[in-house]
Symmetry: C2
Subunit: 423 residues, 2 copies
């Protein structure tokens, strides 16, 4: 048995070898518009420069009141308040709410001076001069405090967070329209094999079309990186070394596919060893398909020798290279499935009688994945932007107990990158 087949590693070891070979801390950054930064990775911690919403707002349509005036209210014994005007939308108001007064307010309106709660319109009967309140409110009820969504000085995101729609929304809410993100890694793609012809050509006897340049480029884009295909290079040491050197110099990572036959594998090992230290680290993976994969790091850049077989090449790329590219992209989370099983670490109640989506953050506690409901109102952009996913409380359930196993539906940033084909 040829020697190189003796140095096989397990899948997680293959990924670890590549990750350990990356240089410390060194991904370049650039400034981009938030509106075109979807899928990009935030390069610095974001500290909120101001409060959101910035003023105490009504969370409901109803009447701004002094809560203490309504404590006694019930269906049988309503409280009657004096109706005095209406808060305009989008403007400050000079209206004040005195004792036993109620001021009409819409969702999002500024809480008028003197008021501390909003009675929902559903819990009132309104005449021209009087508001009949049939259910009391507590101080703060149906009010969104001026710093309740995002508080000035709070850490909104740590660097490494992937920018999804909710994160973009939270930045924009703060007036942050440009953001520093990590540069997109460029992945060089070389197809080697004397039997390969470009896709547009008709293969002669014994020839096949080069599938990997197209399919791997698509995989690179799907992983949120830039693909730079270098075309088909013949199985000839000098030519392949020259193309690989150029690709490694111009790119952040390199995949050479085609070396499944032993001659080409040996050639590829030699080339990976010449590209820069430490060179080839493993000569295969305990994985089907994908065993004949070469794992290398050359001058701090990950390089793979993939099987020529496209199905094997794509599978290994997804299993081995995608997590490494996530790290090169600067992500602090490494992808994974779109739903995960976790244990809820705080009970949540649902009294709405509706299907309820509860935003949660995820964290490992030893081996246990814990889902923590985000504190605060669930309908705030700051809450959504901090969440890793949702837990679903079906209609008719009154909540989920601490300690129950839940399925977390992960938000997009875990799963989707966005890249392009480099020029």
């Amino acid at each position: 048995m040829p020697e190189e087949f003796l140095n096989l590693v397990h899948l997680d070891e293959a990924v670890r070898l590549l990750l350990e070979g990356l240089p410390e801390g060194g991904v370049a950054t650039e400034e981009v518009e938030v509106s075109s930064a979807l899928g990009r990775v935030i390069a610095g911690d974001i500290i909120a420069p101001e409060d959101v919403p910035g003023f105490d707002r009504s969370g409901m349509d109803g009447f701004a009141v002094r809560a203490s005036d309504t404590f006694a209210a019930s269906e049988g014994l309503p409280v009657y308040l004096e109706r005095t005007g209406e808060v305009p939308m989008g403007r400050a108001t000079a209206i004040e709410v005195a004792q036993e007064q109620a001021v009409r307010i819409s969702t999002g309106g500024v809480m008028p001076e003197g008021s501390d709660a909003v009675v929902m319109v559903e819990n009132t009967e309104v005449s021209r001069e009087t508001v009949e309140v049939v259910k009391g409110v507590a101080p703060g009820e149906n009010v969104i405090r001026k710093d309740e969504d995002i508080a000035r000085g709070a850490l909104l995101f740590s660097r490494g967070r992937v920018l999804g729609p909710a994160q973009a929304g939270a930045l924009v809410a703060l007036g942050i329209t440009k953001v520093s993100v990590y540069r997109l890694p460029v992945v060089g793609i070389i197809s080697t094999g004397n039997e390969l012809v470009p896709p547009s050509e008709t293969p002669g006897p014994g020839q096949v079309r080069d599938v990997n340049s197209t399919a791997l480029a698509a995989s690179v884009v799907r992983a949120g990186c830039l693909a730079r295909p270098y075309g088909i290079v013949a199985d000839e040491f000098g030519l392949l070394l020259e193309a690989s050197r150029r690709a490694l110099a111009e790119c952040d990572a390199l995949v050479i596919s085609g070396g499944s036959s032993m001659g080409v594998r040996d050639l590829t090992v030699d080339i990976l060893d010449q590209l820069g230290p430490p060179g080839t680290l493993a000569h295969g993976i305990y994985l089907k398909p994908g065993k004949p994969t070469l794992i290398a790091v050359c001058d701090g850049k990950p390089a793979l020798g993939l099987p020529g077989n496209p199905a094997s090449a794509l599978t290994v790329f997804g299993e081995v290279m995608v997590p490494v590219l996530a790290a090169l992209r600067g992500e602090n989370k490494r992808g994974g499935p779109r739903t995960v099983q976790a244990v809820l670490d705080r009970s949540v109640a649902s009294a709405t009688g509706r299907l309820e989506l509860v935003p949660v953050s995820l964290g490992l506690e030893g081996e246990l994945l814990k889902a923590t409901p985000i504190p605060g109102k669930t309908n705030l952009i700051g809450t959504l932007a901090r969440a890793d996913g949702n837990v679903r409380i079906p209609e008719g359930r009154e909540g989920i107990e601490r300690g129950e196993r839940v399925t977390v539906e992960l938000h997009d940033p875990f799963t989707t990158g966005r890249g392009e084909r480099a020029q």
Copy 2:
């Protein structure tokens, strides 16, 4: 209680109302390069125009032989064959394999005339003139038949398939470099609310920044569609109607966000009713967050009145609009989580001792989701391109029995679209 709150629907009903309102069959198509069609939806059935690989190929490095010559071979009693030359890569070969002969062949080489199997190099001892075979092969063993990956005339994909890396690879393998796909749907986005200012402005008293134009545009892109934001429109019937009319005319779907307060909700209902029949179909959803959502179809186009609250708007968009956009994109599968639980409907063995990824297709049988291992070798691009996902057989397991519950890791086309911001 205002009348519109009485007409609430469940989440699945909201989606169904919108889907039923779409016109029959009518998404336009366009021709695009396969290399830039990632995430696009294939608009016609793809029938393979030729065989892949197109010739009988070796699947291993080894020796092309007549299988019958090796039947008796074992470690204790090897068979000795005459060594006669080597098959070149990427060319036809005139070499023939006569009885008791063996010809050196690399993975991917053309099977020479007369041979019907390949003995892996690991199962041979080779001298200059003789090949000692220590393990027999069956006819066809380690050979990929000329139509084994994709057979000419076979249905490769049905229309509605999302083009991922494996699908792009399969097309290119067939020499198909351009493909007909559905046009990307354009989603118009209007933010309404007199309290809104653009993200770049500093809000005055009672004002907040328009978050939804940015966040919903990102959601549209993530759903694989084109976003066309129309900016902030004041809560004024004439202005909002004019902007909505224009947006609906220019786009395939419309979302108006901002109408959470009753006045604006009523205004939005009136506008959705004026845009085209049937207009507003439901005035709310049994969902938290997101109850005050308006569901409408106007002249065959879906239109939503979303809550102004960004967290609610994003959540409802994801739950209600994304499945509808998948349909507008022409997808024949409707997204969903990235892993699903299914029942395996054919046993698979794994004798490799390695972690094994088995490509499966998914199908509903009544209420039961079944995972069917794709027949044929797992390392073929045609196999991978037909699969919906993988089942993992861990190292040390000898297979999975028919009827076992399995977790299927879905391939990307289920989860990821790719879009852009429209001009």
